[in-house]
Amino acid sequence: MKWHPFELHTHTPHSDGTHTLLEMCKQAKELGLSGIALTDHNTVSGLIDSDEVTKETGVAIIPGMEWTTFYGHMLTLGAPYCEWRDLGPADIGKGIERVHQKGGIVGIAHPYSMGSPICTGCHWEYEITDWNQIDYIEVWHETMPSLRNHNAQAFRLWTDLLNQGFRIAATAGRDWHRSDNDKNLAAYTYLGIEDSEPLSALSVVDAISRGRLCISMGPLLLFKILSDQRAYGIGEVIGRTGEERKRALTINVSLQQANIPERQWIATEAHSVIIESNQGELCRGPLSGEDFQFSETIEADNLLWVRARLYGLQEGLLATLAFTNPIYLESH
């Protein structure tokens, strides 16, 4: 499995962005990104340049769109244009079905942004009758995401849904409109893709659908759970019988530094790993050794999901630096 840093929420002049696809991908390359998803508002015309831009920059471009509707903004990936203009506030399920039928996935963009008339349709107001239809939620939006108020609510929404037993992925999205020298940094969404797979709409959709994601301001945070001689990775499901459910689990966390100079906070500043779950925080501790490891054995019953979070100093502020998507547990 290789973990590729992506930016999943971008715009160009085909909607209201000011940088061209080429300008954006050049800067994406400088940021160390393997790929971007082009998610212009309500159009897919910008993809016309994507082959040429990928050839020039080496940055993969995944087709997407941001449904910029009256009742919410919804990101789609891996699907062509799907109709949204005939949908009312109770009809989003019908719209999502259109995207799924075309092989795409959907994510709620910035659910707690200010809505109309300040930012038209930016606050999610669609009625969701079946959360299983939602593939991902953009819980970190814009630059310096862990410091933004509206993201705290989105992160809580995601956690509440996980606690209810839904398996929904979490992503970051810069909502990238211009390539300037913004000192405020954006997060990476690392996607776990099999070594043999090319970076394509198919492999990106697959990684998100299977929950193989780590969201980070730089370093790649990964963890595994050892259960019955097997190691389970991010996004995987540990199935246990009633008896096995009580057995202790070993959690191994690892961290790889980003090779981007301004992203190497962990080398110098305080940091710790927090393991959290539907039962709340399970344990925490420092990363140690040259290869930044953390290991702990936990005994907890009734676990539905477990994720790792990296907490430390970012530009002198104490904040979450990275978090993984969960490993899930179920009993049978």
Binding site: S15, T43, G46, M114
Partner: protein, 155 residues
């Protein structure tokens, strides 16, 4: 320049979150299609009315524990603006949209190229549709003009 459609209309705050679709017939294939669209006013000049709308938004969209802090800074959301966007459908499929803020916009669609937001392709005979998506009207009224003409040049 042959005119295919020319309309104007007046919108009100209650027109927010509606779509207006114009449907017109192109009798023979064309080299290109020119679309000119404008609306006015763009910005609300009504400070007290805007403040009321911003305060309502804060109550509706911000977590109750944070509302007071946002209320203090209501002016950061000024000026409130109208937003109308257009999208185009040819006789068989979606041909793009222009989701952006300028209140005066001109677009060209042709076989081998198109203005940003739109998808190049033949301008075929049949029923075409242009949709004005009224995302938001914050001024007492808002007037728009939409004109579609047969484009002169091949792009």
């Amino acid at each position: 320049m042959h005119e295919l459609l020319a309309v104007e209309g007046k919108l009100y705050p209650s027109s927010s979150k509606t779509h207006i679709t114009y449907q017109f017939h192109i009798p023979t294939p064309l080299p290109s299609l020119q679309i000119d669209f404008q609306y006015a006013p763009k910005k609300s000049e009504d400070k007290s009315g805007s403040r009321r709308l911003i305060e309502q938004s804060i109550e509706q969209y911000v977590h109750p524990s944070m509302q007071a802090a946002y209320m203090d800074k209501w002016e950061q959301y000024m000026p409130l603006q109208n937003l109308l966007t257009i999208s185009v459908d040819d006789p068989s499929e979606f041909r793009g949209s222009a989701h952006r803020h300028p209140e005066k916009q001109s677009y060209l669609l042709a076989t081998s190229s198109a203005s940003p937001g739109f998808i190049p392709g033949a301008i075929l005979e049949g029923i075409w549709r242009i949709t004005i998506s009224v995302h938001c009207v914050v001024t007492p009224d808002c007037n728009y003009l939409l004109r579609v003409t047969e484009g002169e040049q091949h792009l």
